[in-house]
């Protein structure tokens, strides 16, 4: 996979305040990249710079082959952007709004209607296409915002807190929509969020921001390993029968830290993945495994532990 976004030492200062501090980042084509961090960590400022909306104080970024400072319009032409307080024109219908944005992107009239219809279909707003946006719910507006960001068939889409302010149903719909569209439209997506499960569910790689700095970039699993190596691994086991001898042999296995028993269920805390050894020991003792799986430590718990501050 080739690199589609490359940021080098991006810095943005507002007076004395440094919103983004010397941030370097690479995003690969076709991935869903998540920027995670608490409010005020500089996530929005970062993607606004990447989308050519604000000029960096120093540093530069190449997005889809264009320099964000020198060619912001070209960057905008090949990217889509949904900002965290997305709003369009309440006095226009969904279709009129999209038509306006399509015209701004110089989409020829012959193609506009078709593109708008297919986008409204994709985001599930076909039934409401001739309803004024002022009457839309928050979730519907957000879905229209996603359609708006895709109007120019972009290569990259920036989504700033796409599920902020939505109810659980709306949140679920928007997440599924992002995943589906990303697959269907072959997009690269950069999404910011302060909601951990969201990033965990959506993103192939995650960048963690704190006080304007990008402090870690990796896959979710690697981040967990790296940020909390001492966490170890949790294995949940359910057996058809469990006697004291088997329990002791498990407890005595090297690499096992602790074993909690609840009837025939066990929660095992180990240094690393011991499933094969466990299976062999259980088979030897004549018991059957009903279920066995690894329980990921919650990313949230890892972060709370590492940074000692509330995130959600």
């Amino acid at each position: 996979m080739s690199t589609i976004i490359e940021a080098n030492n991006l810095t943005k200062k507002y007076g004395e305040f440094t919103a983004v501090d010397n941030l370097s980042l690479e995003v690969r084509e076709g991935e869903i990249f998540g920027l995670l961090g608490p409010n005020g960590a500089g996530k929005t400022t970062t993607i606004m710079m990447l989308a050519g909306l604000i000029d960096p104080t120093s540093g530069n970024a190449i997005v889809a082959g264009f320099d964000v400072t020198r060619e912001p319009r070209k960057v905008k032409a090949v990217t889509g952007y949904l900002h965290d307080r997305f709003a369009c024109y309440d006095n226009l219908t969904a279709r009129q709004n999209l038509d306006f944005y399509a015209q701004l992107n110089d989409i020829p009239k012959s193609k506009r209607a078709k593109r708008i219809d297919s986008l409204l279909e994709a985001v599930g707003l076909s039934r409401w296409k001739d309803v004024k946006v002022g009457k839309f719910s928050r979730g519907m507006k957000q879905r229209l915002g996603i359609a708006q960001a895709l109007i120019n068939e972009p290569k990259i889409v920036f989504l700033d807190e796409p599920t902020a302010g939505l109810d659980p149903q709306g949140t679920r719909e928007v997440r599924m929509l992002i995943k589906r569209l990303c697959r269907e439209e072959e997009l690269t997506v950069v999404v910011t969020s302060h909601i951990l499960p969201e990033v965990e569910q959506l993103c192939s790689r995650i960048g963690i921001m704190k006080d304007g700095k990008l402090i870690a970039v990796d896959t979710f699993e690697n981040l967990v390993k790296r940020l909390a190596p001492e966490e170890g691994i949790f294995i949940r086991l359910e057996l058809n029968k469990l006697d004291d001898k088997l329990l002791r042999s498990i407890e005595d296995m090297p690499g096992i830290r602790s074993v909690d028993r609840d009837g025939n269920e066990l929660m095992i805390h180990a240094d690393h993945d011991l499933r094969e050894k466990l299976a062999a020991a259980i088979a030897e003792a004549g018991s059957l495994i009903l279920t066995m799986h690894i329980v990921q430590p919650r990313l949230e718990e890892v972060f709370l532990k590492v940074y000692g501050r509330g995130w959600i």
């Binding site: 604000i54 952007y81 900002h83 709003a87 024109y89 701004l104 110089d106």
Partner: protein, 308 residues
């Protein structure tokens, strides 16, 4: 100018279908029609006695009250279009959405000014044309060539004056934090320009050139100086300037209503349209300068503003 026409087109439709615009426009039209009707009735009653010597009866009938309606309500129409131009989009968040698309920032503000100007030209021309139709219908008299030229000039000046208010209110909509403050600033400016300026001018004139007691005659030096100071101050008000230019163009006054006729001497001939315009150029300049300065300032500020 990527996007400018698209934005202008959308804005024009927005204006012409907005309740705010329609209501003020309707009020303006109704007031102007009432003035036209009143003017005709008064002329039927009073005849040429109420004309300034040399004044065209048609224009006199036509202008009684109409200039004032445009000076006051027409300017409100300009403000109604401009005060929310940028601030409302900034408040709601639609400005960022707009700027995420490949448009130049200046296209946004230019498009908005252009759309507002078109809507105002449409409004002023329609209102004045309706008044003209009313006067022609009621009197059965059609305007002469000179009168038509004067009326068209009057339309142009009125449009320019309303666009100037658009520029001023757009400036506030860029500068002020939110739409409410922008509206408030525009209204205060409007109030000073249309009304309070007279109190301010009169106060300053009384301090700088006190009148003293006794009978006021045009020959008294103090009176003349007082009047000059008063006029100089009112020149700061675009509304006063508009009133002067409009009156002058329509031939209903000799430079701001002050005619000094020496006994025994003949009345001076009324000035031609071109003479009127050349006499009024300082006032026209004030209106144009206010428009250009306020727009240039909004433009520069908007281009530099951080969006967040």
């Amino acid at each position: 100018m990527a996007g400018m026409w698209t934005i202008a087109k959308k804005e024009i439709i927005d204006h012409l279908t907005s309740v705010r615009f329609i209501i003020i426009f309707a009020v303006l039209v109704i007031l102007i029609l009432c003035s036209a009707y009143e003017g005709v009735q008064q002329y039927f009653k009073e005849g040429s006695r109420m004309l300034i010597p040399g004044q065209s009866a048609f224009l006199a009938v036509f202008t009684w009250g109409i200039t004032e309606k445009i000076a006051v309500v027409g300017s409100l129409l300009g403000i109604a279009i401009g005060f929310a131009a940028i601030s409302q989009e900034r408040d709601s968040g639609s400005l960022i959405t707009l700027l995420t698309h490949p448009v130049f920032r200046d296209s946004v503000i230019n498009g908005k000014l252009m759309a507002g100007a078109c809507a105002l030209i449409f409004a002023s021309f329609t209102a004045i044309a309706l008044a003209l139709t009313t006067v022609i219908t009621l009197t059965g008299v059609a305007p002469t060539g000179d009168e038509t030229a004067r009326l068209l000039t009057f339309m142009g000046i009125s449009g320019l004056y309303m666009i100037m208010w658009l520029g001023v209110s757009m400036f506030f909509s860029v500068v002020m934090r939110d739409t409410t403050s922008s509206l408030l600033a525009s209204i205060i400016t409007w109030l000073i320009s249309t009304n309070l300026i007279y109190s301010i001018a009169s106060l300053i004139a009384s301090i700088v050139a006190p009148l003293g007691g006794g009978i006021i005659t045009p020959h008294r030096i103090g009176w003349k100086r007082h009047f000059e100071v008063f006029r100089a101050i009112t020149r700061f008000s675009p509304t006063c300037c508009y009133r002067d230019v409009a009156q002058s163009v329509l031939g209903s006054s000799f430079r701001g209503g002050l005619i000094i006729v020496e006994p025994g001497k003949p009345m001076p001939a009324p000035p031609s349209l071109l003479e009127c315009l050349s006499q009024s150029w300082p006032e026209i300049t004030v209106i144009v300068v206010v428009l250009v300065v306020s727009f240039a300032a909004s433009y520069l500020l908007f281009m530099r503003q951080e969006i967040r």
